[in-house]
Symmetry: D2
């Protein structure tokens, strides 16, 4: 599991008084930084590999300004060219949001999907989500 | 169908060179302004009703800076207290993203879900998505 | 003067109930799209020219969700390599924010500032701000 | 001085390949969380006090994805009802942005500016910026 601590920002709240729902995908993406680094170790956007195919998020509880949030990121499934993540957003022992995100390992220059390399598969395998 | 034209912003692109995936939920929410107005006609956040339960977005094609985007918003299902939307993001005759979003009609003060009122049901019925 | 209409988004409000102050720079940048197009006609980020040097914004009145906003963009001063803009944010006959932004015409590849070309100067001259 | 560490997000970059300029105000606001807490200890937006009057930011160097950023926040001047901050954005020993932000201590309910209370003045005095 990858773990990322997020400190909510005033600009991430909305008029209803909580964190706006569109911020959750932003935080989940922030939690994937170590994964992006696996696929593109030098952070060079010209060699970017992970292109998103689907996000599916359940919103379970309001998220408040003033208390840190923890993003937990697991690998759910490693396909040939695709990668499915399972992610959770926690605040003060409350599971506030959870969902799956599917990426494809894409060669932007050649415009083709590519098999996820074996060394990355091995690294990802350390973060598999076991059904609870 | 509700239709909203969006002009992409430089700040909405990312290093890979296209619109960042986290912007799509922002644009989809922007496309729901007429729906929010149905539930909260005076735009008063103290009387806000629509609380999101789930978003599920398929990313089908890159979205580029420099060309306007059209958000198309349909009502897919009107439940007792819940509302399912089906939404599409189009750019230059390309369907770039599509997905479902589920809301609940929530009374924030009483902290309970409430039946969607009949007058709102009638207005929503004009925007039903017919299976193609 | 360049004029851009913006429809405020729920995600752009904050817990205090109005548009968050950090959204104003986003809207002002959105209002500069026709200027970016002058400097980079094909919208290719590899040939991007306008790099920001300074933003200075006065916040004069709260901006509300539910009513469109108009961004007005003038050219204040055309230097050798630099460009100063004067910009205003209006909502319902209220001047809500105003300020100056300074850009430099920068060649990213060579990493040097370059004189603003004459054809662009002529186009910019049509949008000069006259002191009121 | 208040110090806040920020991990840049992919969604905060833009097509030119660096952190977009509109993200700097977002990070600077994030760095003010301890100040907001001084004025509104319970994080209740109904009792929010700090309303922004002006932001003035110099952009000195590009900010890159992949390396943490440090926000440094000083108190520059404590007026009767107003507060001027001086803030810097650092990445890897490079000063990337710096600027002043002016707030007013505003009673939203009564719609009047109020003198900054003595206990807050004393707390702020510990974070004064001395001219270097």
């Amino acid at each position: 599991m990858y773990k990322t601590i997020i400190e909510p920002r005033v600009s991430e709240t909305d008029g209803v008084g909580h964190i706006n729902n569109t911020v959750v995908p932003v935080w989940l993406e922030a939690g994937r930084n170590p994964l992006f680094k696996l696929f593109t170790p030098d952070d060079n956007f010209n060699d970017w590999k992970m292109i998103i195919l689907n996000m599916n998020i359940d919103f379970k509880s309001q998220i408040y300004f003033g208390t840190n949030v923890e993003i937990r990121t697991w690998v759910k499934k490693i396909g040939n060219t695709s990668l499915t993540l399972y992610e959770e957003v926690w605040q003060s022992d409350t599971l506030c949001a959870a969902g799956d995100t599917i990426y494809v390992n894409f060669n932007v220059e050649k415009q083709v999907s590519e098999r996820i390399p074996d060394d990355i598969r091995r690294a990802l395998a350390n973060h598999m989500h076991e059904a609870h």
